[in-house]
């Protein structure tokens, strides 16, 4: 640190800004805190005129009520949807991203432009036709109706292409001289090289499918097939002021995904930063 930087960091301006940032950060944490503490407060505490910051006694009654609903089934549905999308997106996007980055073939530029162009369009324009399609295919109200469209979205291909461009051409040349076929080259040279991209894309897909409330809302209908988000939303419509129940549901819906995010934060943030740096 230079003396200049030291002096700067102590200036009143910097102190005020730092304090301000901290206060703003607290308001961003507050909803999460309010959900978790709210899920274990007694009903009197939840409806108290003066807010209760910490429950005097932790109660499990709202969770007991929550599990009268198929809440664990909803959670399982969300996990299944997110994991299957994640696996499919990674497989499909890595293959496509690799050839778009490393191979030269007729139609390459046209295909890539089409993929990028589609990403700029609002997803919701395709919502209604998608629902009709899923109906025709007999997939409406199944987890596949949420999974399949998420695999069609080209963001992953884009991210994988960015990473794959960094693979040195000599490595692939060497593999070819050693007699490796295209599939072997891909699995033994390309895949290890783009490992960080797999991590980023996997978490990105997991979180975005888990939280894609709009898609879940239009695709899933019967109570046993809901996702955890949609399940809580349904409970909110039915019991709008039973805050204990709603907070218990919100805890169940948000804590797992927040833990996953905290655990993989660096992989995730590097991934979205890289995806944005368009080549």
């Amino acid at each position: 640190m230079t003396s200049l930087a030291k002096r700067e960091s102590r200036s009143p301006y910097a102190v005020i800004m730092g304090a301000l940032l901290f206060v703003v950060a607290l308001t961003f944490i507050f909803p999460f805190y309010w959900i978790i503490t709210g899920s274990v407060k007694s009903t009197e505490e939840l409806n108290a005129v003066v807010p209760v910051w910490l429950p005097a006694q932790v109660t499990g009654e709202h969770y007991e009520r929550l599990f009268v609903e198929p809440a664990l089934r909803w959670l399982l549905n969300s996990v299944l949807m997110s994991v299957l999308s994640m696996a499919l997106v990674c497989a499909v996007a890595s293959m496509a991203g690799y050839v778009l980055a490393k191979k030269r073939f007729p139609g390459r530029t046209a295909i890539f432009s089409l993929l990028v162009g589609a990403m700029a369009l609002p997803k919701q324009v395709i919502l209604i036709p998608l629902v009709r399609m899923m109906n025709t295919m007999g997939l409406y109200d199944t987890l596949w109706s949420v999974i399949l469209p998420s695999v069609g979205w080209p963001f992953g291909i884009f991210l994988m292409k960015q990473f794959a461009e960094g693979i040195p051409g000599e490595m692939m040349e060497a593999a070819r001289i050693d007699g490796a076929g295209e599939v072997r080259t891909f699995t033994s040279i390309v895949m290890p090289m783009i490992k960080p991209a797999f991590g980023a894309l996997a978490i990105f897909t997991f979180i975005s499918v888990w939280n894609d409330y709009t898609m879940q809302l239009v695709m899933l209908a019967s109570r046993a097939n809901l996702s955890i988000s949609l399940g809580i939303a349904t409970l909110q419509a039915e019991y709008s002021t039973n805050y204990g129940l709603l907070m218990a549901g919100a805890t169940l819906g948000s804590v797992p995904i927040v833990l996953i995010f905290i655990f993989f934060q660096n992989t995730f943030t590097q991934g979205i930063a890289l995806g944005a740096v368009k080549g």
Binding site: G18, A25, P122, L148, T241
Partner: protein, 304 residues
Amino acid sequence: MSTLSRDDRLFARSRALQRQQTKVSYLFLLPALLFFFAFVIFPMGMGIYTSFFNYTMGSFDFIGFGNYAELMRDATFGRSVVNTLIIVVASVPLVGVFSLWVATLIYKMPVFSRSFYRGVFYLPVVMGSVPVVVVWKWVFNKYYGILNWLLKGLGVINTSINWLGDARYAIWCVLAILFTTSIGQPIVLYVASLGNVDHSQIEASEVDGASKWQTFLHVKWPSLLPTTLYVLVITTINSFQCFALIQLLTRGGPNGSTSTVMYYLYDTAFKLYRYGYANAMGVILAILIALFSALQFRIMRTDD
């Protein structure tokens, strides 16, 4: 075969190799393209095509621009467009400025603090719309909400306000929540690109006696332009598509005061089953988004 010269044979071989490469490339692309055409391009085409039809549960009749003409006269649609534009115009600059402010404060911090703040501002995105809205709906509640208690305690208001039930306030509540769920990604992007700014240039300008603001304006800002453009475009797209928050928080009410194009589209399609009419709204929404994005590209380019 024997009549071919050596060059011809080499040429034929390289052509065969190229054909083989093309075949391999398309095989690798095949799964991605299948999904892309089936679940993006095809429904997109269907959406545009059926917007020219009177398409409901029971009918499918070609009516040309009939749906579009009806949209122009539809007062609820007009109001939804206005609300959507209010949301876009209010949120985009705010998100841009605020995320840049946070990023400039945290990008030089030690790894732990930086990750902490980046994570905190990403938290509402990760938690997902439903938990976020469920808790905010409680905060905004007239009788049980902490907001009225807080504002009364601070002496800002005297009587409790029905935040979500009052047309004057509801859209600002939507905007506040939208804001908390919109700044996570821009902050990550800004922190990454501030980390890439050439440090020798910053030091040089500081040695030359430039103020912090001058350094920012002349050294950092130019290299942040591409990121800024990207941030503005994605925030615009997200704000235009604001739907989940509204469906969960106000259902477009009170009296249509928080209805957006996306919400009205959903209502028309899934409550009234007027698919063609809803698809026409989708097409208009796409055009609006394209126009705004193009405008931002133009402005940012001339700034250069």
